[in-house]
Amino acid sequence: MKVVIMGCGRVGSTVAGRLDADGHDVTIIDLNTQAFRRLPGGFGGEHLRGSGIDDRTLVAAGVREADAFIALTQGDNRNLMASQMAKHLFNVETVVTRVYDPLRAELYGRLGLRTFSPTRISADLAIDALLGTA
């Protein structure tokens, strides 16, 4: 499937590398070209410098033909805005959004985005590790 990823940080570059290795058609966007250095050697997808909350960047990244969009920048609001653009302006079928704030993650989950909160996941893991239940 064709996947557009916004944010080439540690998580974004890892996700891009794995999806590419699995044979998916990946385009990754970041504001900073230096960020693309994080992509694994042999990465066969596309990378594009630009803002994921700019519709022109999204179109250039091929969001119109994309099956999935994943927002993985550090900014919750940027991730949420870009994801809604992908979903509501460009009708991307599957939209996954990282939202650090668990309350916003829950709210936008109800509004139709597939959100996940690293804060909540980390808290759960920390407690599991502490109590030895993991």
Partner: protein, 232 residues
């Protein structure tokens, strides 16, 4: 009436001062830069508060659920969008107004149910377009609910509309000529009305029909230009 303003830059600050002078309004100005918030607190007292207007916990602490209007005017469109959406969907605030810094985001905000959007760039461009001499096409008003536009057209000499009866004019389906102004008199036109060069037309049109309408009244000498091109 309780009004929450998010973003205490020049726009938010000016708006807060303006609204504050109305005795009926209770205003709260939210700023997420601590230094800026402290400066404003010295000047405005409890009118200004430090916090993130997109954060659920913070919005709860300022009692946003009893707000009549939330107005988000930061310089960042993503903050303005999320602040309005959280106020609406989490706290049931019925009226939200967002500043749109990038005019190209207006459609997104409207699609997502933000009641009103305010775009300085669009307003400035519309004003400039209206003031430019010999403009044949001036957008006057956008009717949000229907997506229709009220426009002012000036029939240019030798344009396709000049000297032609309305019924013979190749109008787009969603265009209605509502008023024809000749000199200092105006009339509601019918199919027999013949448009003359120099006439002014007030029409209600679909946004898609803009280029076709511009083309009808344009002088063959006038270069074709569109406000969208200026914005790109």
């Amino acid at each position: 009436m309780y009004i929450v303003i998010i973003g205490a830059g020049n726009v938010g600050y000016g708006l807060a001062l303006e609204l504050y002078s109305h005795a009926d309004y209770e205003i709260l100005l939210v700023e997420n830069d601590r230094g800026r918030a402290e400066v404003l607190r010295d000047e405005l007292g409890e009118l200004c508060v430090y916090g993130d207007g997109t954060e659920v916990t913070f919005l709860e602490s300022i009692g946003v659920s009893r707000a009549d209007i939330v107005i988000a005017v930061t310089g960042d469109d993503s903050h303005n969008l999320i602040a309005c959406q959280v106020a609406q969907h989490r706290f049931g605030v019925s009226r939200t107004i967002a500043r749109v810094n990038n005019p190209r985001n207006e459609r997104l905000f409207q699609t997502l149910g933000i009641e009103s959007t305010v775009s300085a760039a669009s307003a400035v461009l519309a004003q400039i377009e209206a003031d430019l001499p010999a403009q044949s096409f001036i957008p006057l008003l956008r009717l949000r609910a229907s997506g229709l536009e009220v426009v002012d057209l000036h029939v240019q000499p030798r344009s396709r509309a000049a000297g032609v009866a309305l019924r013979d004019l190749d109008l787009p389906d969603d265009a209605v000529i509502s008023l024809v102004v000749s000199g200092d008199s105006s009339r509601v036109p019918d199919g027999d009305t013949v448009l003359e060069a120099g006439d002014e037309i007030i029409a209600v049109i679909g946004q898609e029909s803009e280029p076709a309408m511009r083309e009808l009244v344009r002088s063959p000498d006038e270069p074709q230009r569109e406000i969208d091109e200026v914005l790109q």
